[in-house]
């Protein structure tokens, strides 16, 4: 069907023809198709990779420890990939707070190794300032996805985990998004944690902390702006 509107008193519609011939058609990427199929069929969704061998023992060890320790609190509900990922992120944050070792001196030198193992490339990363210090970085494994977890600590000792997971089939709903500076991530609270969730370069990013009161949430959003504006990601690996 065409709509060659005769806009020149009978002249052939050259612009319409030019558009039809010249405008590039963008085909939906395979990963988007898979994500949409999953969105449309939530009960059949969440097909995990049939086989993935962790490239390094540390990632595997982290995942095993998480499974053992967190088995009682693993989410029981199926279906919502974002909710499942959020729960996994919170448990990862809890692990970092309880067992994580602050190694600020090793940062940012340890990042290349962590990036390679997690499969997430940080072209630029926020390495801290007077308010927020980068104290640890770990490859991890969340809901069947390789991920990278950075831990920051603020001046009052609050831990903030910044987790970047491969998993473009996670849709971030519009409900709950708020404007923070020039971005509009999802901001939510769950089980005593505050979470900020967004997508960047096809990766799912989550910041989580126990900064949940109104004042603290404002501070948490400031941390988000620091991290978001200074971090550039890609899926090179």
């Amino acid at each position: 069907m065409t709509n060659d509107i005769d806009d020149h008193g009978g002249e052939p519609d050259e612009i319409a023809q030019f558009l039809r011939e010249r405008v590039a058609r963008h085909q939906a990427p395979t990963r988007l198709r898979a994500a949409v199929v999953e969105t449309l069929s939530p009960s059949e969704g969440r097909r995990r990779p049939s086989l993935w061998l962790p490239p390094a023992l540390s990632a595997l060890a982290t995942a095993m420890v998480m499974l053992l320790w967190l088995a009682p609190v693993l989410p029981r509900s199926g279906g919502d990939p974002l909710q499942l990922l959020s729960h996994a992120v919170m448990t990862e944050h809890a692990r970092a707070v309880l067992w994580g070792e602050a190694r600020p001196d090793a940062m940012p030198g340890a990042l290349p190794h962590v990036m390679e193992e997690s499969g997430v490339l940080l072209n630029w990363v926020f390495t801290g300032d007077q308010d927020l210090r980068l104290v640890n970085a770990q490859p991890t494994f969340l809901e069947g996805r390789r991920a990278l977890a950075l831990t920051y600590q603020d001046r009052d000792g609050h831990s903030v985990s910044y987790i970047v997971a491969r998993g473009p089939n996670v849709a971030i709903p519009e409900l709950g998004r708020v404007q923070i500076a020039k971005w509009r991530p999802l901001v939510t609270k769950d089980d005593g944690f505050a979470l900020i969730v967004w997508k960047q370069s096809g990766l799912v990013c989550v910041m989580v902390s126990d900064l949940v009161s109104e004042d603290d949430l404002g501070r948490f959003k400031e941390y988000f702006v620091k991290v978001r504006s200074a971090t550039e990601l890609s899926q090179r690996y």
């Binding site: 030019f18 939906a28 709903p173 997508k199």
Partner: protein, 173 residues
Amino acid sequence: MADDEFRQQALQHLDALYNLAVYLTRNGSEAEDLVQETYARALRFSHRFQPGTYMRAWMFQILRNTFLTFYRLREREPAISEAGVPDGEAPMFHHAPAEDGESKGAHMDLERALRRLSEEFRTPLLLAEVEGLSLEEVARIMDCPVGTVKSRIFRAKERLRGLLKDYGGPGRI
């Protein structure tokens, strides 16, 4: 309409929706997010879809409304890529098949010209002339009378014609 039938029909329009999303957001990742949100909303509001009407137009309408509600704020800012760097000259046609220099130049010119059209002119033009939707369907998507759609398409073409002449001279088209 049964859920399965609805899902199957909805999925048929994925490429077309993604294509428009790329032109609206000018960013591949955001286009993917926009399309995912469109499908999530379509599923949520599937009970409102009237069987016998055109699902394609209905899906485009959801996509555009989602874009206007949640993405358009960024359009008022300088074009910023998701990495936070200006993307003014980033090619929108990077997925286009290999082509000779002249064709590539024409694509770039067309890309730049389309970018300079405001959304309310660019969208009806693309829907009508690239996606092949009827004026009635475009009017439904744009939530305006058919006459307005005609007028916007006409003005979009005039503007495009002028811009393309600016870029490449009258012989460009």
